[in-house]
Structures are given as structure tokens and as C-alpha cells.
Symmetry: C2
Subunit: 312 residues, 2 copies
DNA sequence: ATGAAAGCGCTAACAT
DNA sequence: ATGTTAGCGCTTTCAT
């Protein structure tokens, strides 16, 4: 018997040596079958190409490896139906599931959660109070960005919105509503925009046409696109308009000017997700939800407001 | 019996219905054990955070899914020893292995390949003539970039080198050597630099100090860092110095000026890798090696050479 | 056409 | 302390 029974020392040693020689090792498959555990978990993501999932995957896989677990990946290609099928099917080949920002509807998700458990949710919450959730606190972070702008004296802002349906956008809107409630003298214009550099670039006219002195872009890409267009229109950032992004992508700090933004701790998100899963796997009950606070990176794309905005 | 035996129609239908009702489905684990195949492959990468591996993973996982295969990931964290252990261990839990740009030494790799097969290599070649290799043709692509610069009249260039040991850097040096052989009137100064924005930024002095009219950066990040520093030194790109990058990262086309670079088809790389694996899995013999040509993106960071370089 | 039995490679519980 | 056996959940082969 291999491992920790009560066997003769010498014999055990000889067996181990022989195993080494023939380079034999127990079939993980057969072990899994009899033990009822595969030492593998799966993570389902909507799009493997999205950088924010890389971070999560990275943090998760490293943490899992330290506990001797392997990780499978499943890419739902942004399809809610595919996502459901994939989740169920993948779940059967492993011991647990991590669902990253699932795209399926609330009702469907809640119903599915029971069948899938153990399962942990990343960047998406559910009714289920038994399912652990780990998420980035977009709402608080955007609030801090708004506060920063306000601290510089900005009272009239534009928000360049992302995908209207998305949870990410909804959270930001909540933060704006909170902010407006707290500061009745402030004004934020919600402008449909998008999530890419090109979207930000094209929003330039609208921004310049408004009386705003500050812009909150949905993310860094949008902010960069906007800044690029602004510089072509000879609008100085931050002298005439301050701009903030969101995500802190690698190039954000190297832009001219370096971009003020919120850095989402994606790798930590993944590590925390594993922690929850590990608890679940060991019969422990993890905290229900944990919100990770993005870090505000205050850089040179923001500065004191000039009265009257661009026109002045 | 489930599937395609010769059974009574009605009975089969009833069984299927019952299975549906109880939402029963065969345990993939037990099936795997008896069939001797897991319908899973694993891909080993040196660093899950590296964007170029995301593309490969993405293309690979989508292609594999279409053939009913799952994919596991293993992150060796850039450690050659870890890589070896991981590869062997992971291989036992699945039907095949894809090694992405393995960091281990040639000799070790060649020896290991036999134990791991079926295995396909991405962006790294080996002695083994039986192991399929799919790679990006860095050498040809850099040659084309050099030709482009030459076409603009540049005769004196600087190459900002990446990690000295890396295969990626070696391929580029080969291309430079070829180019120099073909064009004895050209001159390329090899300068140690690095792979990041900051590395490129710091190379500015060296570049300005040289007589070069064109710069070949190891990658886009380096090129961007350099251009950023050049603009602070009021050196105009491409009027005074032309700069090319490599990779075509998402922001390359949006830089000011938009960056001339080579676009590596990473997703296709992944898809091709799966194709090879699929052949291997089905007893077919795939082509030994396939080289995917990056696409040259000629943009505004390159232009006609001015005699005398910066000084003029 | 259908049912029974063997066995994939292991581990755990039992008997020696 | 060591050897033996049952069985994890399937598929396949062989009888019926």
C-alpha cells in the first residue's frame, strides 16, 4: 500500500524504488473513479479573449495548483444557452465549478446553481445565499473616481456608458446615482458610448459639445480613444478636460498624459475564488460574498477644473 | 445499451425518456476508465498572464470543443523544472499535450517528448521529427519589416533586443543576419534592451545617440515606450526616425503615430495546434511543421529616411 | 434481440 | 503486518 499505512519500512522503500525504476505511478483516472474526486475544477468564462478573465484564470490556477488541483477551462463564447450546457457537462468531469460573470438570466442561474454545486460565482451575484460570490466592487471604485473629480472642483461631468445591459455598466450607474444623491450641486450626463478605443474616439464631439469639465469613461480603452481624439482637436487634458478610465490596463500609466483609473485586482479575484472553492470542497462554509476594492490610480489625466470647460 | 446497437425502437425510446426524466447521463469518469480516453487534452504554458498565450488558448479551446474535447490548463510559471513535472503529471490525466513555447532545454525536451506523446509543440521546435510543430514565422516577418524599412531608404538601423536567451530573440537575430547578408550596404546595431514599455523608454538615449534613421523594436511595448520618450525629446516619428514594433497589440493602430508592426495570428496558431492534435489522436500523421506568417501592418510610424538621422 | 459477466486500475475494508 | 476481495460506473463480449 502506497502512502501512510503501517507497513514494513524496508518493504515500502523497495516498492517505491521499483515504482521509480519502472516509472510507474497510479492512474489518476482509476483513483478518481474509486475515490469519487478528480482533483480538478473547471472555470467557465464567457470569452477567453477578454483580458480580465485571464487575470482571474491566472490567480485561480496558481492557487489551485498549490492545493494539488487542476483546472479545466470552458469558453461559452458569450452564449447564455451554450453556457448552461457547458456548465452542466463540464461539472460532471470535475469536483466543482467556478462561473465567471455568467451571462445567463438570473432565474436560470439560480435554478442551475443547485445542480452544479459546489460552485462559486465571480463578478456576478445570485439569489442563492449558499453560493459564495467573489466580485470587484465596481460601484465603490467608481464612486471614488467621482469623488476624486469632485475634489478637483469638477461639477459637470459626462459618463461614457458601456454596454447598456451589462452588469458592469449597471454598477457604474448605481455609483453615479449615489454620487448625485450625495451631491445635489453636481451634474452627470449619461451618454451611450461603448467599450472600445474607437467608441471613445467617436464620443469626442459629444464631450466637447457639452459643458462638462470632466469625463468618466466606461473603461481605459474608451478613455484612451477619447483622449486621442481630444488631442487632435487641441483640447488639453487635463487643463481643459479631465478624463478618468477604469481597469488600469498595462498601458494606462504610460499614456500621455498617464491615465487616472481604477485598478481591478483580477488576480486576487481568482485567488479568492479558489479559496472559496477549497472551503466548499472541504465541507467548510465560506463567507457568502466578498467584494474586492479596486485601487484608484490617480495620475496626470485629471486636474483642477477650469470654469466653463472647453469653451473657456 | 445507449447509442447504436440493434435494439428495439420502442424500448430504446423509453429508456431515453426515463434517462431524461431522472436527468441521468453516463459518468464521463467511468467511461474514460473503460474506454481508455478522457476526451481531454492539456496545454502547458509558461505564463498564463502573457497575452500571446491567451490567443493560442482561445483558438485551441474553441477548435477542441468542436470535436467534443475539453482542455485543461497548466501554468509552469516560467520554471523549466516545474514545466517538466507539470507536463508529465498533467499528461496522465488526459489524452494529449500541447506544449506552448516550453522553456526547458533542447535535450531535456527531446527526451521528454517520447514519454508525453501524443504531443504538439507551439512556437518551439525540437529535434524529434515525429512531433508536430506549429509556430509563427518570426524570422520571415522580421525580414519583411526590415525590407519595409529598407524600401523607405533606411540603411542604418538599431535593433532593440529582447531577452537574450529567448527563442523569440534568436529568430529575430537570424532574420537580421540574413538581411545583412543580402544587403551589405545596410547596417544594424544590436542593442540590449528588454521587452517592456519601460525598457523601450529607457533606450531612447541610445537610439538618439546613434546615427540610425530606423528602429526595430523587439515588440510593440518596447516600440511604444521608445516613441513616447522620443516625443518628449521632440524627435518626430517618422520624420526623423522610423519605428517598427512586433505583435500588433490592440492599441498599436491607435498610437500617435499608428505603429507599423507584424501581426501574429495567435488564434490561428491555437486552431492549427488542435488540428495536429486531432490528427494524432486519430492515428493520422500530421505534417511535421507548419509556420504561420505574421501579417505586416504598415502604418504611420514608418516613412522615408532622412539622411543623417536625428542630427539632420 | 436481450441479459449476464468480465474487467478497465485502482482503494478500502476485511480476513489472515 | 500482509494478503485477499469487493466494487467505483461504465462498455464489451459472450451466452442465451
Amino acid at each position: 500500500m502506497n502512502g501512510h499505512s503501517s507497513v514494513d519500512r524496508a518493504l515500502a522503500e523497495r516498492v517505491r524504488a521499483a515504482a521509480e525504476e519502472l516509472n510507474y505511478s497510479a492512474s489518476p483516472l482509476a483513483r478518481s473513479l474509486v475515490l469519487g474526486k478528480t482533483n480538478t475544477i473547471a472555470v467557465v468564462v464567457p470569452d477567453l479573449e477578454n483580458p480580465s478573465f485571464h487575470g482571474v484564470l491566472h490567480g485561480l490556477s496558481r492557487a489551485a495548483k498549490r492545493n494539488g488541483y487542476h483546472v479545466m477551462i470552458a469558453d461559452s463564447e458569450e452564449s447564455p444557452v451554450e453556457e448552461r450546457i457547458l456548465a452542466v457537462e463540464t461539472r460532471r468531469r470535475c469536483d466543482g465549478l467556478v462561473l465567471c460573470a455568467p451571462r445567463m438570466a438570473e432565474a436560470e442561474l439560480d435554478q442551475l446553481l443547485d445542480e452544479l454545486k459546489p460552485v462559486v460565482l465571480v463578478n456576478r451575484d445570485a439569489q442563492s445565499t449558499t453560493t459564495p460570490v467573489v466580485a470587484a466592487d465596481y460601484r465603490t471604485a467608481l464612486g471614488e473616481l467621482l469623488d476624486l473629480l469632485r475634489g478637483y472642483g469638477h461639477r459637470s461631468l459626462v459618463y461614457l456608458a458601456g454596454a447598456p445591459e451589462s452588469v458592469a455598466n449597471a454598477r457604474r450607474l448605481e455609483a453615479i446615482r449615489d454620487f448625485l444623491d450625495d451631491h445635489p450641486d453636481s451634474f452627470v450626463e449619461i451618454t451611450p458610448c461603448g467599450v472600445s478605443f474607437a467608441d471613445g474616439y467617436e464620443a469626442c464631439e459629444r464631450v466637447v459639445g457639452s459643458a462638462a469639465t470632466g469625463v468618466v469613461a466606461f473603461n481605459d480603452l474608451v478613455a484612451m480613444g477619447l483622449i486621442s481624439a481630444l488631442s487632435e482637436h487641441d483640447v488639453a487634458v487635463p487643463e481643459q478636460i479631465s478624463v478618468v478610465g477604469f481597469d488600469d490596463i498595462p498601458l494606462a500609466r504610460y499614456m500621455t498624459p498617464p491615465l487616472t483609473t481604477a485598478s481591478v485586482p483580477v488576480t486576487e479575484l481568482g485567488a479568492h475564488a479558489w479559496r472559496r472553492m477549497w472551503d466548499l470542497l472541504n465541507g467548510r462554509v465560506p463567507d457568502h460574498a466578498i467584494l474586492l476594492r479596486p485601487r484608484i490610480q490617480s495620475r496626470a489625466s485629471t486636474g483642477p477644473a477650469r470654469l466653463g470647460g472647453v469653451q473657456s
